[in-house]
Amino acid sequence: MLKIENINAFYGDLQALWGISFEVNEGELVALVGPNGAGKTTTLRVISGLLKPRAGNVRLDNRDLGKEDAHKIVELGISQVLEGGKVFTAMSVLENLELGAFVGRARKVRDETIKWVYHIFPRLEERKTQRAGTLSGGERQMLAIGRALMAKPKVLLLDEPSFGLAPILVEQMFEMITEINKQGVTVLLVEQNVRAALELTNRAYVIENGRIVGQGTGDDLLSFESIRSAYLGDCNA
């Protein structure tokens, strides 16, 4: 469904991604894991169109997204949740969600989608009239995900949804992500929380220094020696 081929991306003269290739099939929950600065966020920005790659292709259902602007890519069915959520703090929870259904396709079914989002995140319904700036970190993250779902994406890109959350909330967050995936949304998840991400996903790719260095099922990678020592702090491996 989503196919990334030989992406090279730069920030100015600095090359951040070196020939990245991977794919996500319909209905899958795939993780992209790796250390800080490996290029995970950059990869998501390339897919969502916020950063134009210098070489390579991004394809959604065989359609090349290379020339499309970010707002157009949303219309085509890919929504990104930015790192830290980036909710509109001055607006209410409901206004944030309504903005999520900005594109024409999603606006027609907005009221139904809001019910669906409230079903996944009941907390958002309780807080709907509240200003987004007054929400806790976990609630903001829920709002950011809910807002992205309002666009009715085929593929949801999640950038560090566990970032800054208390451990108990991280677990809840991952349960909600599994639930979203079960409801038919294909998910590409970027995480530094490698163990939790690998336990959660069908498949995962490991990225280091802007290159894909490993791939496999979550369980495979969990038993992979270099992964255990590098990311899971497992000295006995």
Binding site: D69, H71, V74, V87, E95, L99, F102, R147, A151
Partner: protein
């Protein structure tokens, strides 16, 4: 004490606004002093100019340091067409549209880049026009004798009133529309807005075009109002920076802020100019710095804090 419901307070607001408009409409019938009407004309002019600057600067968060270019382009176009025999309203419309064309000329390239390019670009544009118009049209533009003979202040006043209401109304309609929601989303978080399907470039350009159009209309009204002035005058940087200061003082990104800022600024300037001559510039400069440092939301921000504190006490 019974509390007012939202519908009630909305009804009170509407009655208040209608009353205010009625007073403004009746003003030239009641007050016969030309100097008072002239002062009212300047208040309305700056209500329009500040509100039009705010459409771009306040709602979309883009700093325009060359609003005088739009005001001046509107004034020059309207003046030339009107004095050449066009009717007033097509001349005004043409002035607004020339301002929009000029705005897109600078906005299309500058908005593709982020950062200070737009602010610098608009400032440069207005200064280039200021100098060029000064060189090309060095003579004073006066109304012909036959127009002077029938000159009346009241129609000018009503034109300014209509443009002020039109500008404010357009701003209000904008922020309550889907387009306005997109514009404010781009202001808050450009990447987040794009990732929701909001085209940042398109929404900035729409805000810019509206802002320039109303700036140009206001300039056109000035051209209809003024008996004799140097065409260069309307491109002067003070039109930009006075409007900008009014918006900051009153409260950026609100509908009421620019109105309050303009009323406060023009009337205070009138009082100070009478007593202190050019010293009023120092007073406004200081006031502007104080507001930016200590009241980032302007008067409207202070009002918001007070009403919130009162609500908490109840």
């Amino acid at each position: 004490m019974s509390r007012t419901s939202p519908e009630q307070s909305r009804r009170i607001q509407i009655i208040f606004i209608l009353l205010l408009i009625a007073i403004l409409v009746a003003l030239p019938q009641v007050i016969k002093s030309d100097s008072t009407i002239n002062l009212a004309v300047y208040v309305l002019l700056f209500v329009s100019l500040a509100s039009s600057w705010n459409i771009l600067g306040g709602f979309s968060g883009q700093t325009n340091l060359g609003h005088a270019a739009f005001f001046g382009a509107g004034a020059l176009t309207t003046r030339m067409l009107w004095l050449s025999g066009w009717n007033l309203f097509p001349s005004l419309l043409a002035g607004g549209l020339v301002a929009v064309a000029l705005a897109l000329l600078i906005g299309v390239p500058a908005f593709r880049l982020r950062g200070v390019y737009f602010a610098i670009g608009t400032l440069a544009l207005s200064q280039i026009l200021y100098i060029t118009v000064g060189n090309m049209l060095p003579m004073i533009s006066s109304l012909p004798a036959q127009d002077l003979a029938v000159y009346q202040l009241a129609p000018r006043y009503y034109l300014f009133l209509a443009i002020a209401l039109f500008t404010i109304g357009a701003g209000y309609a904008l922020i309550n529309s889907r387009l306005g929601l997109g514009i404010m989303a781009v202001r808050e978080e450009e990447d987040a807005a794009e990732s929701l399907g909001v085209s940042a470039l398109k929404h900035k350009l729409v805000a810019l075009a509206l802002s320039a159009f109303f700036g140009g209309l206001t300039g056109g009204a000035f051209a209809f109002y003024h008996v004799g002035y140097y065409p260069q005058l309307t491109f002067g940087p003070e039109w930009t920076f006075d409007a900008l200061m009014m918006v900051y003082i009153g409260g950026m990104g609100t509908i009421v802020g620019p109105i309050i800022g303009a009323v406060f600024f023009v009337i205070l300037r009138e009082l100070l100019a009478l007593n202190l001559a050019e010293m009023h510039l120092i007073v406004f400069g200081t006031l502007f710095i104080l507001v930016v440092l200590f009241l980032p939301g302007g008067f409207m921000g202070v009002w918001g804090k007070i009403s919130k504190a009162l609500a908490r006490q109840q």
